[in-house]
Amino acid sequence: MKQGIFRITENTPLTKNVFRLTLEGDVSAITAPGQFINIQLDGLFLRRPISVYDISPRTVTVIYKVVGRGTEQLSRMIAGDTLDVLTGLGNGYDTSVSGQRPLLIGGGVGVPPLYYLARCLIAEGKHPTVVMGFNTKDEIFAVDDFRAIGADVTVATADGSFGVRGFVTDALPSDYSYVYTCGPEPMLQAVYRTISTSGQFSFEERMGCGFGACMGCSCKTVTGYKRICKDGPVLRKEEILWEK
């Protein structure tokens, strides 16, 4: 984990309420796909945790949905503004166990952490398939980015306005070596029941600090109590307990 001041280089709407934010600064603490950053906003007490979409040697990009006061305030910031950010938070995905044909499953704003993951997997010579679910055509984002790096992409929409009609679980291929997923908990549960291999699941929880100090986001797992922010957000399929 590192704390740093970052300069906004872009904060662009991708859909009606989903934005892509790129920040310039020291990103050396980000060591794995699936990690998150924690952004301080003027006048708000707690930071806002957002998963990493992509990194370059001097920038980190996140994609966030406007859901409350913090993200609404963030959406009004412009290039040149600065933010105090904690980077390199969470365990992230482990790509070493993926096999050659990993399956990446994302729902809504659970899609973003899968992009840097797909890029890492491709760099390791693997062939990821990506299945993304959205409610409707107007909410779709990032598909072209995944295709541009050579990932095989299938999109499902709940209302059938684009791609496969239904949920991500209606659009899964039959042949894959491992699963990486991120999305709302009902989707994670459906994926858990459907997939035929092992996998890694990224969870969301309301956090206090985001770096393991406050025990605000703890959950029970097969291997004991875990902090979503520090021991997660990625849990292995075998350790998940769905009861709260």
Binding site: Q3, A213, C214, M215, S218, Y225
Partner: protein, 308 residues
């Protein structure tokens, strides 16, 4: 440079800055960021007799100038704290730590304190009779003088280490409880724990916190905490540790003028993990600015207005 050292229940601290229990874990997360040996000491995550998961999530809510938590004393239990956490802690902090203890019966408190009494690393026992987030324990011992007396006396019988009783602000007369603890043999008082609070998610018409209510902390409660520190410090003759909404060196000085011998920093650690290090760094300049040559000399130094 001015003198920052203070004496807390007979043990010298190089400065009065202490991260508060529950906001600093057992120190490792912060030791990754900076050398935590710059701190006066720190108060470890609250420890109970048995392991506890705590409350269901969500446990955290944002508030104006603060936050609510309802963690519910998650901890691995005193046996594992002694076997695993304290030895690991030794690698990142060389001084004496404050062990924070909670319980669900007078016997719980006595048992846990007796176990911790044998640990060389533990300098002080901070006995939490003020957790608002657990049923049938915690705060129920700190909201009336008789049960605060019972816990204090039971713990004092089991340990030679200084016993500091951590009080709840969720009472009508905190002074009477502080005095009861002092009469029962407490070596110090720390205050305040969090203020019972609540937020409601308007869309869902549900409390944000799964426990419905939780402990409110952060800069919003600083004036309330300062007032209570002032009242208690002027009513007892044992040292008082002040806490509640402290975020900067000036807040530390204000707390000490009100009567605090040392000052704990809580919620601010969760927002900026460097808060305590920065306060220690900033204290000499703040002291110089106010003409303070020794922090221990300003304890309780507020010159109250004469009442007419």
């Amino acid at each position: 440079m001015g003198e920052m050292n203070v004496s807390l229940c007979g043990i010298e601290l190089k400065n009065p800055v202490i991260p508060a229990s529950g906001t600093f874990g057992y120190g490792y997360e912060f030791a990754e960021l900076y050398d935590i040996n710059c701190l006066g000491t720190f108060s470890c995550k609250g420890t109970t007799r048995e392991p506890r998961f705590g409350n269901p999530t969500p446990r955290i809510a944002e508030c104006t100038a603060g936050m609510i938590n309802a963690v519910g004393l998650q901890n691995p239990g005193v046996d594992r704290v002694i076997a695993e956490e304290l030895p690991k802690l030794k690698n990142c902090f060389s001084g004496l730590v404050m062990a924070n203890v909670s319980g669900f019966s007078v016997e719980d408190y006595a048992y846990t304190c007796e176990r911790l009494d044998r640990e060389e690393q533990v300098g002080w026992l901070e006995v939490n009779v003020s957790c608002p987030n657990v049923h049938g324990g915690g705060m129920s011992f700190g909201t009336d003088p008789a049960s605060a007396t019972a816990v204090t006396a039971a713990v004092k019988a089991k340990t030679k280490k200084p016993v500091i009783i951590k009080l709840s602000p969720n009472v009508t007369d905190i002074v009477s409880i502080a005095k009861a603890c002092e009469a029962a043999g407490a070596d110090g008082i720390s205050l305040i724990n969090t203020v019972l609070g609540m937020r409601i998610d308007i869309r869902r018409r549900r409390p944000v916190i799964a426990n419905n209510m939780g402990g409110f902390s952060g800069p919003a409660i600083f004036p309330l905490a300062l007032r209570m520190v002032y009242q208690v410090a002027h009513a007892v003759s044992i040292p008082v540790i002040g806490m509640g909404g402290v975020t900067c060196a000036d807040d530390v000085i204000e707390m000490m003028l009100a009567g605090a011998t040392a000052v704990e920093v809580g919620a601010a650690n969760l927002v900026n993990p460097y808060t305590c290090r920065d306060i220690v760094r900033d204290l000499p300049a703040a002291m110089a600015k106010y003409g303070i040559t020794s922090l221990s000399e300003i304890i309780g130094g507020v010159k109250s207005w004469e009442k007419t």
